[in-house]
Amino acid sequence: MADPLLQVVDLFCERDDRVLFNNLNFSVFPGEILQVEGQNGSGKTTLLRILSGLSRHFEGEILWRGVSVTEQAERFRRELLYFGHNAGVKAVLTPEENLAWYAALDTDIDLQHIPKALNAVGLKGFEDVPCHMLSAGQNRRVSLARLYLSRAPLWILDEPFTAIDKKGVAAKEALLLEHAARGGTVLLTTHHELDLSRHVRRINLDELSGT
């Protein structure tokens, strides 16, 4: 088997005197989709924020391609796409301008692909409409268009399907599978019933939380 892309060793996190997880160990291999499960408040978002490098309130080690993330923060960020609770869409900018800003932040994105990506998320014809005129779901779609643009191997998606209609979810699931097929990795949390169950490995945080 290939080397793991992401390795988590002895992860410990505590929040407000409550242990969210202790001794958490897992590895993610290329081509895998990993779903983090747990009740509300079990620390799913916290885990994803720790793995992406946003939160530093943890003990333990995170290895990316066998090297600690803290030693190669820049390289890790190049290979990461993080999709957070807040979609990161500016309300006063148009979808096209929002994505152009992402392209500026991530030099691997080709500006030429933006119209195609907007088309793929079903926002054709809305390119020039300020995002505050769009619906909640459409705003999420603007951010999800990044998935079509990104060439990063690791996707960390926190509730990507919130406010997305059924058809849209199906399209995104197909996209996740395609990403896995090209050797990428997905870590996600979702309360949607995924159609991908055969392909998904799960981690349940409820069983891990101690006192």
Partner: protein, 244 residues
């Protein structure tokens, strides 16, 4: 809404072709911030109105006597400029923090130093620069002698960017808090004092026809120090705020 068929995804990236141009992301940041500011005009006018209001109310409150106002003018203009910069400071990272754009900026491989510098420059162009341009008008209203104008303009031009840089540190530290407004003032005001002292001193020197190069040089030194060090502090403060 129709979902079209997926186009094939691009190949995963090759790590070797790292292509960093700090200038490019700096320009992109500047462009984005100016675009954002121009679409939220009310935020833009707010500090200017405040500036104008202070200057208009002052003669009403103190005395309309030109000689008294002329002696007070350098200080009043500078204090008003300082407070209106402070007023605009809280919004600097707030909206980015709330809609999640800030997380994306922190997670991008681009150097945070450069992005932050671009944001501060854009912020200054939207507050400090208009204040500087408006200052002569207010100085005339306060009967500042004409000889003082050059000193006022120059000191504000060099001084206000420092105010933006230092204020941004406070804004970055408090962006994670629900109500950071008051805390920013407490954190930042002590650091504003040197700028205020040298700024007003430059105007006074200009009014009395003394050389003002020394004061301006000190303001310039503060600005150079700010440009070199403040973005590092802002970047670190943002990481702490988002991590919390």
């Amino acid at each position: 809404m129709s979902e079209t068929k997926l186009q094939p995804l691009a190949e995963l990236q090759q790590i070797e072709n790292a292509d960093y141009r700090p200038g490019k992301i700096f320009i992109a940041t500047l462009k984005r911030e100016l675009q954002l500011a121009l679409r939220r005009r009310s935020d833009l006018v707010n500090p200017l109105i405040f500036f104008l209001m202070v200057a208009t109310l002052f003669p009403l409150g103190v005395s309309p006597e030109p000689t008294i106002l002329a002696t007070l003018a350098p200080g009043v203009v500078w204090v008003a400029a300082l407070l209106s910069t402070l007023l605009a400071m809280d919004s600097m990272f707030r909206s980015d923090y709330e809609d999640g754009s800030l997380e994306q900026i922190l997670l991008s491989p681009q150097p945070l130093f450069v992005v932050v510098l671009g944001k501060v420059l854009a912020h200054w162009m939207m507050t400090g620069l208009p204040l500087t341009l408006m200052a002569p008008l207010i100085a005339v209203m306060l009967f500042l002698p004409a000889e003082g104008m050059s000193g006022l303009m120059l000191s504000l031009l060099i001084g206000t960017p420092t105010l933006s840089l230092v204020g941004a540190i406070g804004a970055a530290l408090t962006v994670g808090l629900r109500k950071g407004g008051v805390l920013i003032s407490l954190l930042v005001l002590p650091l504003y004092i040197p700028v205020l002292i040298f700024g007003t001193a430059a105007v006074e020197a200009a009014v009395t026809s003394l050389p003002l190069a020394g004061h301006l040089a000190l303001l310039g030194a503060l600005l150079a120090l700010g440009i070199a060090l403040a973005p590092i502090a802002i970047a670190a403060a943002l990481r702490i705020s988002v991590s919390g």
